[in-house]
Assembly symmetry: none
Homo-oligomer: 250 residues x 2
DNA sequence: GGAGCATGGTTGTCTTGACAAGTCCAGTCA
DNA sequence: TGACTGGACTTGTCAAGACAACCATGCTCC
């Protein structure tokens, strides 16, 4: 993201974007730029504090503050005695919890399975195009699947994807990796919108879930932005079950 | 909230809750307890770093870290060259949008009205006490109201309140100020948990809302923490309508 | 009286140095 | 072979001191 190449007399790897910018901010920007450029991928090890001291020429306390704040923000994970790592795809949301249903089920000790009902292309109608900020008739990818926990259907997922974000979406095997997980590996969500609605399931969805059509269902609309564009919309229908959102404010 | 009385040889005003607790955490707890007890009110000036150094016997770096983290969390406001102050009540939600239904309706151009069905005391049963982290049979405040938009019922609110947070809750006129607005003025929420559930409304609630009892409803459980304790639980029943949560991730 | 200035107090940041606590790995000993 | 131990490395925390930036106050000078 940033140029950030070494330069002059000091051992500094730091750009010095502005003389007034605190050095710990410069360290943070330095780390962020490496992560954003992909040079340091998810789960990769970040240089140790001592190495960063040598690289950048600032004191360890300053490096420590930069790393600590990035860890507090959820971008890094620090393990005492081991090192500092680029945070995995999961904790991408530090506030509004975006959960992967497979993980959620695994946490409960259940066995997750997904059945792909359809996977293909779709032309956006007016409303859908507007939701994506794309021209009408633009091509979208669509997947429809049923998630099961220990054999019981717990969620119907209808997923629409902006091809720009995940051009190889249609080649994936979503019985092995959830769309959620695949998409967050393609593009980190920057912004999320949730709309939760209580409805009765449409007949085809009710049939897929194996529930009577008058059963109250929870329909979660989720819209996710990445790189400033709408990356994906998900329509998640839960029969009866609850949906936990929770989020810490600090 | 905390005992926090001086003790021994050091000039420390600090309790030493556990020898392993970092000192900057102790300073944070010290400040928080003063604010929570009301000793330091909103907009009051907090002792300067130098004064806290003398009071607590730790170094300025440590005091600075404690104050900085509390300021980052929004509980304090720091002004260079002036001092540190207890933050006002407004900026309570910086991330997860906690909406006031009256505001929400006003934004849509509607007319909000609230009808108070009941307002009084309640003894917590086991489950409720556990949710609040209080002993069984502890006293809670409870309000039940119906919110209307242009005369039409849009939300049934059952509100349980920890008396410690809002001792004068029962004296309020909730047809004029929403419980949400009153409570956030008492204590800024630090953490929020949402659970959303699709149900059918209980008969009494359905009657209050004027809907048939088989109508699918959205039930939002909301639990809010302030000053490290559970401040309030809200059970919000929405007939058919949608509930927007949205939230920016950075 | 009014404008400008010096001063003391406050927060913001940084450095050097240090110790504690945790993990990992290789080498040692039974 | 297996258990244990020690050292190297890492992060977590803290101290003491220093300088910069900023603000409010009171003072001086006009």
């Amino acid at each position: 993201m940033l140029p950030a190449m070494p330069s002059s007399e000091t051992p500094a790897l730091l750009p010095t974007p502005s003389p007034a910018t605190p050095r710990y901010q410069q360290i943070k920007a330095f780390i962020l730029s490496r992560v954003a450029s992909g040079e340091w991928g998810v789960e990769d090890r970040v240089p140790s504090e001592h190495e960063l001291v040598k690289l950048t020429g600032v004191s360890r306390v300053t490096v420590n503050r930069a790393l600590r704040e990035l860890a507090d923000a959820g971008l890094l994970v620090r393990v005492q005695g081991v090192g500092t790592f680029v945070a995995g795809a999961k904790p991408q949301s530090n506030l509004l919890e975006l959960r992967d249903i497979a993980e959620e089920i695994a946490e409960r000790g259940g066995m997750h399975a997904a059945e792909v009902l359809s996977l293909g292309r779709l032309r956006a109608d007016a409303a859908m195009a507007a939701a994506f900020g794309l021209p009408e008739q633009a091509e979208l990818f669509r997947a429809r699947l049923v998630h099961r926990e220990d054999g019981m259907a717990v969620q119907f997922e209808e997923r629409l994807v902006n091809p720009v974000i995940a051009p190889r979406f249609l080649e994936q095997d979503f019985s092995r990796i959830t769309p959620y997980r695949y998409l967050t590996s393609c593009a980190p969500p920057e912004r999320v919108e949730h709309v939760v609605e209580a409805t009765r399931a449409a007949p085809d969805i009710a049939a897929s879930l194996g529930i009577p059509p008058d059963e109250p269902c929870l329909l979660v609309h989720r819209r996710t932005w990445s790189w400033r564009v709408v990356a994906t919309r998900a329509f998640l229908t839960h029969p009866g079950t609850r949906y936990r959102l929770g989020g810490a404010l600090d």
